[in-house]
Symmetry: C2
Subunit: 255 residues, 2 copies
């Protein structure tokens, strides 16, 4: 039998966003290492490094030592082409919801070409809407409807376990479907979009938030290809050029 390729696991990031309890960071590192994952990213951890994290990591202290501590989730996702948020099922947002085995297949397929990520939110509040808007889908663990609150490290264990089992079962993978854009390029597109829409007087400069969030959700569902990002930014630049030549639009009608 062909061996499963360790490079795939090395391309999978576990991102813990705003973790409150350092013990959970250590326990998550241990959970990852038992399943062969190694890339730990921490976004604004409350306490890190920390002796409780070290204690709970047991022999996975090397993962803590190499962990990337980031200020923003965008920073933690830089270079990735696919990110899934892990969360209980949410009725308030429209996005793809995958089971852990489905997510494992998608992540491993993309991991052949570039880094991918699983994002875990704060222990109490979960993932914020802003964090979710950086993800292309949600992974939901089918839990007891009367008590679905897995401990953070337990959720990391379940997802890492599913990734390893899926990885072991498929020594080879079909190529990724599209030449997916890296998330940082997609972020630059959103920044460009916001600037352009503001210039076009389409966005209220005071509170562009809600509309931008809706546009993010729209594009994150489609998973943009690199080429598509280039095209969209080309359109934005063209629109900006036209607007600059046109001058202020307010109270004017086209001739």
């Amino acid at each position: 039998m062909t061996q499963a390729d360790p490079k795939l696991l090395a391309n999978i990031r576990i991102v813990l966003a705003r973790t409150s309890h350092p013990g959970n960071i250590g326990a998550a590192a241990r959970a990852m290492k038992t399943m062969g994952l190694s890339q730990l990213y921490l976004v604004q951890p409350t306490l890190f490094p920390n002796s409780q994290a070290d204690a709970m990591a047991a022999s996975a202290g090397d993962l803590l030592a190499q962990a990337q501590v980031c200020i923003t989730l965008e920073e933690a996702l830089a270079g990735t082409v696919l990110a899934f948020g892990v969360s209980a099922r949410r009725r308030d947002i429209v996005t793809e919801v995958l089971t852990p085995p489905e997510a494992a297949v998608r992540l491993l397929t993309e991991a052949q070409a570039a880094p991918v990520a699983l994002v875990f939110g704060n222990e109490t509040s979960g993932l914020s809407n802003e964090e979710l808007s950086l993800c292309q889908g949600l992974v939901s663990i089918a839990a007891n409807p009367d008590y679905s609150s897995l401990n953070l490290a337990a959720a990391v264990q379940v997802l890492s376990y599913e990734i390893r089992q899926t990885w072991l079962q498929h020594p080879s993978w079909p190529p990724p479907e599209i030449d997916a854009a890296r998330l940082d390029d997609v972020e630059r597109f959103y920044a460009h979009l916001e600037t352009a829409l503001t210039e076009l007087e389409f966005l209220n400069q005071g509170s562009p938030g809600k509309l931008m969030l809706k546009l993010r959700w729209l594009f994150s569902r489609t998973r943009l290809a690199q080429e598509e990002v280039n095209i969209l930014r080309g359109i934005l630049t063209a629109a900006q050029t036209a607007k600059r030549l046109a001058g202020p639009l307010r109270d004017r009608k086209p001739e």
Copy 2:
């Protein structure tokens, strides 16, 4: 779709043998409850009840309050018809080794008729040979060969998760294959076997341990039916009667 039957989950016991850290007991209870399991059995826990266990259980304190604390593993397995030990793969004993999904199917199938159990050993030393001899097979989680040491509660989470996923996927199950003997009846058979073999001067009364362990492994692999236990005990009784009539065998030859 037919609903999966909650009675099956209620027939699955999680048995924690000689757990050192009470926090692990609480975290295991939480892991169980998130997956709809409720039957927690504790064999000689070092500290229980305990405030650390309560803290780690979060909203699964009801499982701790209802947990059965036992002196022996036999007591925890009384009434069960199937028990699997959870352990890293062991080369020193010959027994069936199952993946978590395989174990989940077997346990849920038998749970239609009677209680079944998953047995987790001590955090450091794992399951003893004596504990393993009460199990009909081993469940092994395919982990990183360089670091396979899952935290106890993390292992409970993975197995509970697999049981729930398997349960959700199969709203109905084929009937159990055999009218399996309850483990306490099997234990009475082993006691009877040891007495009979001693009477027959086959076992050295001083150290019957090793041979009895081998006989246990032989029978536990086959999974005795209730009827077979009755037949075997009938044979033992017949042999005992013959021996009592015959008197001492030492230095005598059949005529």
